[in-house]
Symmetry: C2
Subunit: 333 residues, 2 copies
């Protein structure tokens, strides 16, 4: 089970039997639109608040994942979820709808892979028959919560990122058809002393590199073990810093196999500043686009390194720097 | 490993080799003062904000637990923690200080037992060599965040609870001396449609009963299996409702063995309304008082059922009801 200092091997190879991905209008015009199961033109999803719209999205992602596996809510065993809304209410309310044993997480934008790691651990240790892992983010909710309400039309620097409106869910079972979760590396908090909430990619880059380095060390491998190594939401600024840091640490990854979900999700011409971010970013790109590519046989073994900035608006106002973390999961087809 | 629908058995019996508990001035005048490792007369702990004071408390609880086990920070393998501050920054900053692989949780006041369950699972499945589990709450931080800044002197109804200023940490190892974690029951979200943040105990009571019922069902036992069954922070109102509901479900627990951390922690004459609450409540009472009683041989087998209200000030303002959850852990000496 344990491998090196920070990693786990799942020798039972839990299978991602189905996934559900839901996006908003910006994602519908993005580069990966065809990989979503459901896209909404209305940022409100017909709800009376953005917060409730996000809840609806996560519920839909869960329904989609369960539906594709032909599974009823009642057959679900465990739900593991987290999000960025204060007190992760999106996950709490979705857990209420699902009405099954629920483990709530907070790992900011690294939630998708913390959840997938723990979900696989539950199956590996036979603590669960099946596990649904979910997470979400909503642009208008999180801009309001972390920066300014979008209605203010506040300007942002080019280092800022665009919060993905999206929800992703993955259903894990001990057996079945689909990509397998074979290993995970749990990250440590890394804090470079940066404190600019308009440059989170820059702050998170070192955490991504720390986890990639730990992963390579724990398994005594290098990038050649993977077809693709994908970070969560470093976007343009963070991705370049991470690439530089990897070179410095003697771990250079060839450009064509080192990608970032925040750079993959939108089109070049979309006004998303440095790129995508949010819990939903790595979730929809991984559970949608990347797993689709695996199912098609285009990718055989990937490492997804979801990155999270563990700050709050209040910690920023109190002049704290931004602690960051990254959790990595190996998926094989 | 799995037992029934919601429970886990830890046959390797991970040991709580040491604990650290820190409290504030109200706790120092409480009924369990002698069970704390460290008590502060200053609610600020010499810090420049209450938020930073809470971080200091959690760091101290972790240091105490590690110190008692004669363990250096560098020997720690995993840290699992959560708290009630937005984006659980107390846990994130403490994880930065510890600099070890970190899993962030959010389970509101049920965090202590979600953390202990997952910590035990990591050891049971040999995913970790040792795990430090932590959580905390701070009265002035959470009154401000969830209700009003304490400086306003806002009046509260008698159903309201008093957030415990306290931090608790427990160090788990595969072997050693101390109480063992032998089983856990992971709760489902239960929502009775209540929406009064000044009566959280009332809202959480049904979740506690749901988990106790699931626990008894999964193990085919009743209260006679335990010396004590202790809920997290139902306080006066919630405790009475829970006791009534248990009778209704045919699961009556004798008064002398059904207790609540929120009722144990303060003295009758302290102006704490219905009783204690907050993530720190079940953590300091369990990791301090209850484990001390086990170590002294006064208790042999207990069930701690930590209760959490999974709402946010915003979900309350948007007229959502309060989803609640409870996670239960069996400890044996």
């Amino acid at each position: 089970m344990r491998q090196g200092c920070q990693s786990w091997v799942f020798s039972s190879q839990p299978v991602i039997v189905s996934t559900g991905t839901v996006g908003g209008p910006f994602e519908a015009r993005g580069a990966l639109a065809k990989d979503f199961d459901l896209l909404h033109e209305d940022l409100w999803l017909g709800q009376e608040s953005y917060e409730k719209a996000e809840k609806k999205m996560l519920e839909q992602a869960c329904e989609l994942a369960l539906g594709k596996a032909g599974m009823k809510k009642e057959e679900l065993h465990f739900f593991i979820s987290g999000d960025l809304q204060n007190q992760i209410i999106v996950s709490g309310f979705t857990a209420r709808t699902l009405a099954v044993p629920y483990l709530g997480l907070f790992a900011a934008c690294s939630t998708s892979m913390e959840g997938l790691s723990l979900g696989a651990l539950l199956l590996e240790s036979k603590a669960a028959e099946n596990v649904l892992v979910g997470t979400s983010s909503h642009n208008a909710v999180l801009e309001k919560q972390f920066r300014y309400p979008t209605e203010y039309g506040a300007q942002k620097p080019s280092t800022a990122q665009w919060t993905v409106t999206g929800a992703g869910a993955a259903l894990l079972k001990p057996e079945g058809n689909g990509p397998k979760v074979t290993a995970a590396t749990i990250g440590r908090v890394v804090d470079m002393g940066l404190s600019d909430p308009f440059n989170l990619g820059g702050a998170m880059a070192a955490a991504a590199v720390d986890t990639i380095e730990a992963h390579f060390r724990d398994f005594a491998i290098d990038h050649s073990a993977y077809d693709l190594i994908v970070t969560g939401d470093l976007a343009k600024v963070g991705h370049e810093i991470a690439a530089d840091l990897l070179v410095k640490h003697g771990l250079q990854i060839p450009e064509e196999k080192f990608k970032d979900c925040g750079l993959l999700i939108y089109k070049e011409e979309q006004p998303v500043h440095a790129g995508g971010s949010g819990c939903g970013c790595s979730a929809v790109v991984t559970f949608g686009h990347l797993l689709n590519r695996m199912r098609k046989g285009e990718l055989h073994k990937i490492l997804v390194v979801a990155t999270g900035a563990l700050f709050s608006p209040l910690s920023y106002q109190q002049k704290e720097s931004i602690p960051c973390i990254a959790h990595a999961v190996v998926m094989e087809m």
